[in-house]
Amino acid sequence: MLRFFFGRLAVLIPTFIGVSIVAFAFIRLLPGDPVQLMSGERVMSPERYEKISHELGYDRPIVIQYLDYLGNVLTGDFGRSLTTKEPVLTIFAKLFPATLELSLCAIIFAVVLGIPAGIIAAVRRGTVIDQTVMGTALIGYSMPIFWWGLLLIILFSGVLQWTPVSGRISFSYFFQPVTGFMLIDSLISGQKGAFKSAVSHLILPTIVLGTIPLAVIARQTRSAMLEVLGEDYVRTARAKGLPPLRVIGVHALRNAMIPVVTTIGLQVGVMLAGAILTESIFSWPGIGKWMVDSVFKRDYPVIQGGLLIIASIIMVVNLIVDLLYGLINPRIRH
């Protein structure tokens, strides 16, 4: 297991270096002068240009600049936003709980609906139920989620007036964030109706962000279950006269879950990409919207830092998924 762990880690380090080179190179690839871009100042005197260039380290050889950058990044210095002048890491830490809360709710939504749907489809293979579930899953998988969000807004916020259109909580509530998770903070605040407001703001974004993972999980569960249901030990369990629910729920499901767990883990990247669209539609103040806004504002340090932080998170999560997979399935270690 240790060898497996270090083997995976050995692959991760060059990938991280590659990702940091991409983030570093991003500023040089932009059209225009990096000194002007990174300082956010267009017109400046030659003396000031020299000064800023020196401060940013742009007057040194490119390799030294990169190593400098890598050193800064590893000590948590991702530069400062051009618009708010705050450190990128501080803004990220402030916004990330919003994305995390939304992503967690979405993944719970996807798992809670997707796994049972996949199991039912597999057990009732070839029936109308199977076809309906799989047809719906394929539609979900093909869904342009930005349009799906707009449709839900038309129906639930427009026609039925059940849910709000944007934000994390109604403006009538105000409290200091404690955990950054609106659901928890609203409960802690003790204000009447605050929790309900937070939940109602969360419902539509959760559905939108959870739709594609839901479809993927349902499809994956179905095919994993089908594979397992054909195995000898399942036949043995049936032949022993065990009740069908026990055969499906214990013997089959346990083994079918191995690839499904991996699929769920790999949805993290999908989530962060989906958050870009979902957060933009619902004005959800998380890192997805932050990145889109920064691209529009040409806040290059933020894009550079955000890119690196997000990629690092995905790499770490994928590593954890890999290790978990090795833990549940010893065959993969060799």
Binding site: S142, L150, M315
Partner: protein, 305 residues
């Protein structure tokens, strides 16, 4: 010469028969999947629509009718027969824009898939065949690309290159090609030790010929399935970039861009929001249905012969 002609003819004939057999076998498995056949017909319909858009569209997609702003579809109260699916906020005929939009989406799919497929196959074959340090180097680069969420990387690339349809397509192709590299590499690695490859090598085939003429044709099945997946992903991602304002720019009748323009009328005029998205969904769904059928037909593991 006289003796070689009949031989060559026979050879060609036999080849034609096997091609025909293979096609009919393929169709046999493909057509067993009803959804795949439906997907294929919808796709053919979309291709026809895209080609004939100038003939089918009742209006020019950019033409603004100042007297017909946000006219609802003709079956609704206030609808007009001249604008079957209504008009948008500046009085452009929605049906015509949707028909022309099919051109953009299919064009995006074809170009992006071709680009990522070609580049991906090229690097995949080299990584798989050459192996060693070259392989490690290529695969680490692919790992780096895959470490970023695809849409985020595409968004940032577009920010570097500048917004626009062509740049969006380049960005999406770059983000999609690692999947082809990985698939090709895996297939090449499992093929390259087979007897027919060794035989070709002994017969004196040069590495380039071995890589691209001997081995590659036997690795195509998973690549074709992946290509259909990429086709639909390309359309979705391009629409998403258009929606974020980073893809095709207005007044281009690209479906995602149309959605972005329609956002502010979401509660007043349902048709400007609903219809472009429906067009994206139907197109992507048709391609994914086809992809499922292709996988069933091309995956030898599932064949019961």
């Amino acid at each position: 010469m006289a003796t070689s002609t009949p031989n060559a003819l026979q050879e060609a004939d036999r080849h034609a028969v096997t091609m025909g057999q293979r096609l009919s076998e393929f169709w046999y498995y493909f057509s067993e999947n009803r959804g795949a056949v439906i997907g294929l017909w919808v796709f053919v319909f979309l291709v026809v629509v895209a080609i004939l858009a100038p003939l089918l569209a009742p209006h020019m997609p950019q033409q603004q009718y100042r007297d017909a702003i946000l006219v609802p579809p003709y079956w609704q109260e206030g609808g007009r027969a001249a604008y079957l699916l209504g008009t948008d906020a500046v009085g452009r005929d929605l049906l015509s824009r949707l028909l022309y939009g099919a051109r953009f989406s299919l064009f995006i799919g074809v170009i992006v898939t071709t680009l990522s497929l070609t580049v991906g196959i090229f690097f995949g074959v080299i990584a798989g065949y050459v192996g060693g340090k070259t392989d490690t180097f290529i695969m680490r680069i692919m790992d780096v690309i895959l470490a970023f969420p695809s849409l985020l990387l595409a968004l940032v690339l577009v920010a570097v290159l500048g917004p626009g349809l062509i740049n969006a397509m380049i960005a999406i192709a770059l983000v999609l090609q690692p999947h082809f590299v990985r698939l090709t590499r895996a297939a090449v690695m499992s093929e390259k030790t087979r007897d027919y490859v060794v035989a070709a090598k002994v017969a004196g085939a040069k590495p380039l010929r071995l890589m691209f003429k001997t081995i590659l044709p036997n690795c195509m099945a998973p690549l074709i399935v992946q290509a259909t997946l990429s086709f639909s992903t390309a359309i979705l991602d391009a629409a998403a970039l258009g929606f974020l304002g980073m893809g095709a720019q207005p007044p281009t009748p690209e479906w995602g861009t149309m959605l972005a323009e329609a956002r502010e009328f979401i509660l007043r005029a349902w048709w400007v929001v609903t219809l472009p998205g429906l067009a994206i969904l139907v197109t992507v769904l048709a391609i994914n249905l086809m992809g499922d059928g292709l996988r069933d037909a091309l995956d030898p593991k599932l064949k019961r012969s």
